[in-house]
């Protein structure tokens, strides 16, 4: 009995490897929710990129039409109290909304992931200090932290983005920290330590790629939260300042004319709702697609 040293030779040409990314997309868009979310975001991004082409009027030009006119063929979403074309304003607003959402998430994700990874990897007093600080921030609602940050920084669109970004750092830090604790105790991480990997390699090559999935998921959903928070700040007059066509700001301005001209509040509200829905649906789809168990099937 001499079992072969080599495994049964499989020198036959390997099946053509489907690229990782294409397989991922296939699984992602198998769920109807992700499909709808993807389409919504695609439309939104297209609108934002092509805003000057799509919008029939200058979003800040007053007197583009008669004031407070309901939707018509000339002004699809109607006009506001200064006669500005609401459709053009919402089209241009999509640029601001996407920018706010993405930048705010980038801020909170970068800081949160960094804090979570350091705390989870280092342990000890560093872990205690960082995570207790996050717990303190976590105990306030995000809007309250964002309000406080704007109060310190002063009301403006940029500051609103920073404020929204800061307000959700604890959330990302928590998720990252939890994921790191799980991965740190897995055998492959111990194996990397046994091989002699230095901390930087352990964090970048081993921890980070394995905690990325949950972070991508919460970041996608996080964009919708950020959009909502930024709109809320603008609505309160602490974010985008007039005449900026930010959706929350349009909504706030239309409030005074709600009875006479409900379209001024309806359309930006709908735009916000649809955007939030799109990111949430896509986030749910990503959560499923990034789960290795589902992917294998």
């Amino acid at each position: 009995m001499t079992p072969p040293l080599t495994s049964p030779p499989s020198t036959a040409p390997l099946p053509t490897q489907r690229s990782e990314f294409r397989q991922f997309l296939r699984v992602l868009f198998r769920s109807p929710g992700a499909k709808i979310g993807g389409v919504i975001l695609l439309v939104l991004i297209t609108v934002a990129l092509l805003a000057p082409v799509i919008a029939p009027f200058d979003p800040t030009a007053m007197g583009a039409g008669p004031i407070l006119k309901p939707p018509s063929a000339a002004h699809w979403f109607g006009t506001d109290e200064f006669g500005r074309d609401l459709f053009s304003r919402i089209v241009y607003g999509s640029r601001l909304t996407l920018m706010i959402g993405v930048i705010a998430v980038c801020i909170s994700m970068t800081a949160g992931v960094l804090i979570g990874m350091v705390a989870g990897y280092a342990g000890g007093w560093l872990e205690a200090v960082l995570m207790r600080a996050m717990d303190v921030l976590f105990s306030f609602t995000e809007t309250l932290i964002a309000l406080a940050a704007v109060a310190v920084l002063g009301p403006s669109l940029t500051n609103a983005m920073i404020a929204v970004g800061i307000s959700s750092i604890p959330f990302y830090a928590r998720v990252t920290y939890g994921a790191v604790l799980v991965e740190k105790n897995k055998e492959y991480f111990k194996a990397a330590q046994a091989v002699g990997a230095k901390p930087v390699r352990l964090i970048i090559r081993h921890l980070f790629p394995n905690i990325l999935s949950p972070i991508i998921v919460i970041a996608t959903v996080g964009v919708s939260v950020a959009v909502l928070s930024a709109s809320a700040l603008s609505f309160l007059g602490l974010g985008a300042q007039p005449p900026s066509p930010e959706w929350g700001a349009i909504l706030a301005a239309g409030r005074d004319y709600f009875k006479r001209a409900p379209w001024i509040t309806t359309f930006p509200g709908l735009a916000i709702a649809i955007t939030v829905l799109g990111f949430n649906l896509l986030g749910d789809g990503l959560r499923e697609a990034l789960d290795p168990q589902q992917r294998r099937s």
Binding site: L5, T11, K186, K190, A191, V195, G196
Partner: protein
């Protein structure tokens, strides 16, 4: 015990052991209380092990689940820092090494893990996994690194064309070959094999064991082979240590241990090996131990095995037996001593 005729190869003395483990202890603290944590005790996972590992040998380490086998392996490699004791690798004391010097030592000692499904990073390709030790120690780079990775995959019997595949595309046996290739990448002297075949199908176990044996011959490796499967340990080991509740109860070369086991625990373990012959199997005398393994938090007084030992004496309950060498037989083929910790043996 060097044979006289060997002196022509000019070995003046027996070569010193590769590893000397002296009174190794690994205790895990037990905490109680939610906010104000108090240490209420210790789990004595490994409690005073003393043994040598000779260069080029395979030392089998057997025992029940939870007896501290894996902890011992990890403590020797300093993946878990021992609570007390010494681990001397050639003339380097490992327990006091930290940081960079310890990291450098990892080139010389590696580990093969039990579960090949868990011990490979799912987000790295096979090529990246096997190349990682080479990158860490800057042994090879560029195309010579790629060549070395291909060579290693070939050595462990994998198709070198698999480099760009991910671990989940492989079977358990193939994954364990990847783990072995990674461990061998740095040309180590010493490899701790932590139940390397326990997670594999029986049909694959023989392949992996044979691979490990032939690699040992080719590369002059020294193995600490941790297992609970006695027939596998018998097949691969030169010497075998039997652990019970954090202590070695018996240590002997393979032949002595299987033919003349001295400790009642070893006897009970060996009697549990099934014999692949129904006629003999039917007559096999099994020693079935009563009760469960006691908790390592509060190990029994005296001899730790006294609660389950069929030959327990009054002395066993109070006095801990010393781990000492016995002369079971004088035949010179047994190159190392037979050690046992049992009062029964002393009284005979």
């Amino acid at each position: 015990m060097v044979q006289p005729q060997l002196s022509s190869i000019s070995i003046p003395q027996p070569r010193p052991p590769l590893l000397q483990i002296r009174d190794l202890q690994v205790y895990f603290p037990v905490y109680q209380g939610l906010i104000l944590q108090r240490r209420t005790g210790w789990v004595k996972a490994v409690d005073g092990l003393t043994f040598d590992i000779q260069r080029g040998e395979t030392l089998g380490l057997v025992g029940e689940s939870g007896c501290g086998k894996s902890t011992t392996g990890r403590a020797i490699l300093q993946l878990l820092r021992p609570t007390a004791g010494q681990v001397q690798f050639e003339d380097i004391e490992l327990t006091t090494l930290t940081g960079e010097p310890l990291r450098q030592m990892r080139q010389r000692m590696q580990m093969i893990f039990q579960d090949p499904y868990a011990s490979l990073n799912p987000r790295m390709t096979v090529g990246e996994i096997v190349a990682e030790p080479l990158e860490i120690f800057q042994i090879k780079s560029g195309s010579s690194k790629q060549a070395r990775v291909q060579e290693l995959l070939e050595v462990v019997g994998l198709n070198p064309g698999f480099v760009s595949r991910y671990p989940h595309e492989f079977s358990g046996g193939q994954r364990q070959r990847i783990v072995i290739a990674r461990a061998l990448a740095v040309n180590p002297d010493f490899v701790v094999c932590d139940e390397p075949i326990a997670a594999l199908d029986v049909s694959i176990q023989a392949q992996v064991i044979n691979l490990m044996q032939s690699l040992q011959e080719e590369l002059g490796l020294t193995y600490l082979f941790i297992a609970h499967d006695l027939s596998v340990v018998r097949h691969i080991s030169d010497r075998i240590a039997v652990m019970y509740l954090g202590k070695i109860v018996e240590l002997a070369d393979r032949v002595s241990l299987y033919e003349t086991p001295l400790h009642p625990y070893t006897q009970a373990l060996l009697s549990a090996i099934p014999i692949p012959d129904p006629a003999i199997e039917a007559q096999r005398q099994r020693i079935v131990l009563q009760g469960d393994v006691p908790s390592p938090t509060h190990p029994p007084s005296g001899c730790r095995f006294h609660t389950r030992c069929p030959f327990v004496m009054d002395r066993c309950r109070h006095e801990e037996p010393a781990f000492r060498e016995v002369n079971s037989d004088q035949s010179s083929e047994h190159r190392s001593g037979h050690y046992v910790a049992c009062h029964l043996v002393e009284e005979q």
